[in-house]
C-alpha cells in the first residue's frame, strides 16, 4: 500500500454542520404541523362527539372530551337508526356495500389487467384506436350517461339489483384501470415477454405465470383505487339500486338527513366514522405498497 500523509487539515472538513432550529426548519415544520392539525381536527370532533350523550352535546362544548363515555350512539348507528320506515341502522347498507364492492373490484381488476396486458404486449390491429376510445371514456361526465344506463339496465332486467350496480362500477372503472395496467406492463422489460414466448407460453400462460406475479404493486394500487372509489360512491348507488339494496353511503345519507325528531349528532358522527372505516383501513394496511406501486413506473427496479 502506498502511504501518503498530508499536513493537518484546516478550514471546513467532513459533513457540513446543520442546525436543527434554523429559521427554515421552524417555518417548514410549523406549516406542516398546522396543516396536519387542520385536517385532523374534524376527525377529532367527530370521534369525541360520537362518544357523548345527547345532554352533553347540548351543552355546546364542541372540542371538549366526553365527560361520560358512551358507546350507545355507535350501537344505534349500526343497528337501530331509522331510515324511512325501517330501523336497521347501517348494517343492511354495510352488507349491501360489501356485496357491491367485492365483485366490482375483483371483476374490474381482472378485466382491466387483461386489457392492459393485451394492449401493451400483443399489439393487435386497432389496439391504439381501441385504447384512445377507452381513455376518452374517462373524460365523459357521468351525468351524460346516467339516464341512458338506467334504460339499458331496465332492458336487460338488471335495474334496481345489486348485479346492475356491479356491472356499472366494473364498466366505469375500465378506462383508468386499463391505463394504469397498460402503463405498468409497458414498463416491464419486453425481453421477458419474448423469452416467455420462446419458452412456449401462450397468451394466458404469460399473463398468469409471468406478468401477474411481477405486478403486485400495481394490483395493490388498483385495489385501493377501486375499493375506495366504489365504497364511497353515492351517485350510482342511489340511481341504480332500489331501497332494499342501497349501499352504505346512501343509508348514511338517509340517517343523517332524516327530518323526523331530534337531530342525534352523536349517532350521525358514529355512522359517518363507521362508513369511512373501510377505505381508511385499506389505506393503513396497504399504504406502503400503494406508494411503491405509484412510483413503480418511474424507477426501474
Amino acid at each position: 500500500m502506498i502511504d501518503i500523509t498530508s499536513a493537518p487539515l484546516t478550514g471546513p472538513q467532513g459533513p457540513k454542520p446543520r442546525k436543527s432550529f434554523s429559521r427554515r426548519n421552524i417555518f417548514l415544520y410549523g406549516t406542516l404541523i398546522t396543516i396536519a392539525l387542520f385536517y385532523a381536527l374534524p376527525l377529532y370532533v367527530m370521534f369525541i362527539t360520537s362518544l357523548k350523550g345527547m345532554p352533553e352535546i347540548r351543552l355546546g362544548n364542541v372540542f371538549s372530551p366526553p365527560l361520560e363515555v358512551t358507546f350507545q350512539p355507535w350501537v344505534k348507528a349500526w343497528s337501530e337508526a331509522c331510515t324511512g320506515l325501517t330501523c336497521n341502522g347501517l348494517s343492511t347498507g354495510f352488507w349491501n356495500s360489501v356485496q357491491i364492492t367485492i365483485p366490482s373490484v375483483v371483476l374490474s381488476i381482472i378485466i382491466a389487467s387483461v386489457n392492459g396486458y393485451a394492449l401493451s404486449n400483443w399489439k393487435f390491429k386497432g389496439a391504439d384506436a381501441f385504447f384512445t376510445i377507452l381513455i376518452f371514456g374517462a373524460f365523459i361526465p357521468y351525468q351524460v350517461m346516467l339516464y341512458p344506463i338506467v334504460i339499458m339496465l331496465r332492458e336487460v332486467g338488471l335495474y334496481g339489483s345489486l348485479g346492475g350496480l356491479v356491472l356499472v362500477h366494473t364498466v366505469f372503472g375500465m378506462p383508468i384501470l386499463t391505463l394504469l395496467f397498460r402503463n405498468y406492463f409497458t414498463s416491464l422489460p419486453e425481453e421477458l415477454f419474448k423469452a416467455a414466448r420462446v419458452d412456449g407460453a401462450r397468451f394466458w400462460a404469460i399473463y398468469a405465470k409471468v406478468m401477474v406475479p411481477m405486478s403486485l404493486p400495481i394490483f395493490t394500487v388498483a385495489v385501493i383505487l377501486q375499493v375506495t372509489g366504489i365504497w364511497n360512491d353515492f351517485l350510482f348507488g342511489v340511481v341504480y339500486t332500489s331501497p332494499d339494496n342501497y349501499p352504505m353511503t346512501v343509508s348514511l345519507n338517509n340517517i343523517v338527513n332524516s327530518t323526523q325528531g331530534v337531530k342525534e349528532y352523536n349517532v350521525n358522527m358514529a355512522a359517518t366514522i363507521l362508513t369511512g372505516l373501510v377505505p381508511l383501513s385499506i389505506y393503513f394496511v396497504s399504504g406502503r405498497l400503494f406508494v411503491r406501486g405509484i412510483a413503480a413506473g418511474a424507477v426501474k427496479g
Binding site: 425481453e191 421477458l192 423469452a195 414466448r197 419458452d199 412456449g200
Partner: protein, 360 residues
C-alpha cells in the same frame, strides 16, 4: 455441408421504414455465425425474425429444412438468450430452466434430467434454488444460456448476451460460450456490436448495415480483405488508416509519395485499375525500427501525439499531409516531435475505389 438455417428474400418493414431488405443468408449445421454491425443496422431485428418474435413482411425462413415462416417461436426449434437476461424474477433458477419444458408438457423425470444436465454443463447446480435477484450478472447470464440449453434445440440465438457485463466477466464468458459451442456443436447465431467478440467467436461473420449484409466471410477474410471501405473502417481497433490518392502505372500516388503495388492482389476488377482510389493500411501492419529495411515502401514522419496503452503505443503522425496512425510495441520509447521511419508491405494494404468505395 447441410444448412441449418436458411433465410430467403427476407423483407421487413415497419410502416414505410424498410428495416430489412431482400436479405439472403444460409447458415450451416454447427456453424457459429456472428451478425455484426453498429446499432440500428437491423442485426437484432433479423435475429427476432429468425426467432419468430417479429412477423416478416416478405420472404421465408427455413430451420432444419422446414419452412417456419409462420410458426410460433416455441415451435421453431430455437433457444434464445437475451441481453438483459430476461429471467423470470419470481421463479427460482430451477423454475426458470423448467418453465419452457413445463409449457411443452414434458414428463417430470425428463424435465429433471434436462435441468440437471444443463446445470452441470454451466456449473450452476448450487444456484438452482435461488431467485435471479440473488445472482450476479455472470450467473444470471449462465442461467439464461441454460434456459436455451434445456430446450434441447439445434439452433441457439444470442442477442448481445454479454453487453450488460463488465469487461473482465465479458472476456471470461466469451471463452465459455466458445467452449460450449465446441462441446455442443449446435448452430449458433450471435448478434453483437463488439468486433472482438465477433472475431474470437465466429466461424463466419456477417457485417450488416442498413438492413443488408455487406460482407459475409470468415474473420480472416473480413479482417484481411474487407469488401468495401465501410467494413474496412468498422473492423479493427484502432481503425484502418485511409490515404486518398491515385493509381497510375501500377503505383499508388499520394502527394509526392508513390507507393509500389507489387504483390497486391487485385480482385475481380482485374489488374491495376487507373484513377482515384483510397488506400487502407491497418496501424498494426506498419513497421518501425530495424524491420523497416525489409519492407518495399518506407517513409519518414514526425510524431504528433502518442497514446500509450501498456501493451501497445499508438503514434499519431501525418503521411503526405493525411492523418495516419501507427501501432508500436509498448516497450518502444518515442516522444512527440521525434522523427520516425515507417514501412509497410503493399501485399497487406487494401485498395478501394474512391467513388464506389468497393475493394479493387
Amino acid at each position: 455441408m447441410q444448412n441449418s438455417v436458411e433465410i430467403k428474400d427476407l423483407d421487413l418493414q415497419f410502416g414505410a421504414v424498410k428495416v430489412l431488405q431482400n436479405l439472403n443468408l444460409e447458415i450451416g449445421k454447427g456453424e457459429f455465425l456472428v451478425l455484426l454491425g453498429s446499432s440500428g443496422c437491423g442485426k437484432s431485428t433479423l435475429l427476432n425474425c429468425i426467432a419468430g418474435l417479429l412477423d416478416v413482411s416478405g420472404g421465408q425462413i427455413h430451420i432444419n429444412d422446414r419452412n417456419v415462416t409462420w410458426a410460433e417461436p416455441s415451435d421453431r426449434g430455437i433457444g434464445m438468450v437475451f441481453q438483459s437476461y430476461a429471467l423470470y424474477p419470481q421463479m427460482t433458477v430451477e423454475g426458470n430452466l423448467s418453465f419452457g419444458l413445463k409449457n411443452a408438457k414434458l414428463p417430470k423425470p425428463e424435465i429433471a434430467k434436462r435441468v440437471k444436465h444443463a446445470s452441470e454443463v454451466l456449473q450452476i447446480e448450487p444456484l438452482l434454488k435461488r431467485k435471479p435477484a440473488a445472482l450476479s450478472g455472470g450467473q444470471r447470464q449462465r442461467v439464461a444460456i441454460g434456459r436455451a440449453l434445456v430446450r434441447d434445440v439445434d439452433v441457439f440465438l444470442f442477442d448481445e448476451p454479454l453487453s450488460n457485463l463488465d469487461a473482465k466477466l465479458r472476456a471470461d464468458l466469451r471463452v465459455e460460450i466458445k467452449r460450449l459451442h465446441h462441446k455442443l456443436q449446435n448452430t449458433m447465431i450471435y448478434v453483437t456490436h463488439d468486433q472482438i467478440e465477433a472475431m474470437t467467436l465466429a466461424d463466419r461473420i456477417a457485417i450488416m448495415r442498413g438492413g443488408q449484409i455487406m460482407q459475409l466471410g470468415s474473420p480472416d477474410e473480413i479482417y484481411g480483405r474487407p469488401i468495401n471501405k465501410y467494413v474496412a473502417d468498422f473492423i479493427g481497433s484502432p481503425s484502418m488508416n485511409f490515404l486518398e490518392g491515385n493509381i497510375q502505372n501500377g503505383t499508388f500516388e499520394v502527394g509526392e509519395l508513390s507507393i509500389p503495388l507489387d504483390g497486391y492482389e487485385f480482385g475481380d476488377a482485374g489488374a491495376a485499375t487507373e484513377g482515384a482510389a483510397t488506400m487502407g493500411i491497418r496501424p498494426e501492419h506498419v513497421v518501425t525500427g530495424e524491420l523497416v529495411e525489409s519492407t518495399p515502401f518506407q517513409v519518414d514522419v514526425e510524431v504528433n501525439l502518442i497514446e500509450p496503452t501498456g501493451s501497445d503505443t499508438l503514434v499519431d503522425c501525418e503521411v503526405a499531409g493525411q492523418h495516419f496512425r501507427v501501432r508500436m510495441d509498448g516497450q518502444s520509447r518515442v516522444s512527440v516531435g521525434e522523427k520516425l521511419r515507417l514501412g509497410f508491405a503493399p501485399a497487406r494494404v487494401s485498395l478501394f475505389d474512391s467513388k464506389t468505395e468497393l475493394r479493387l
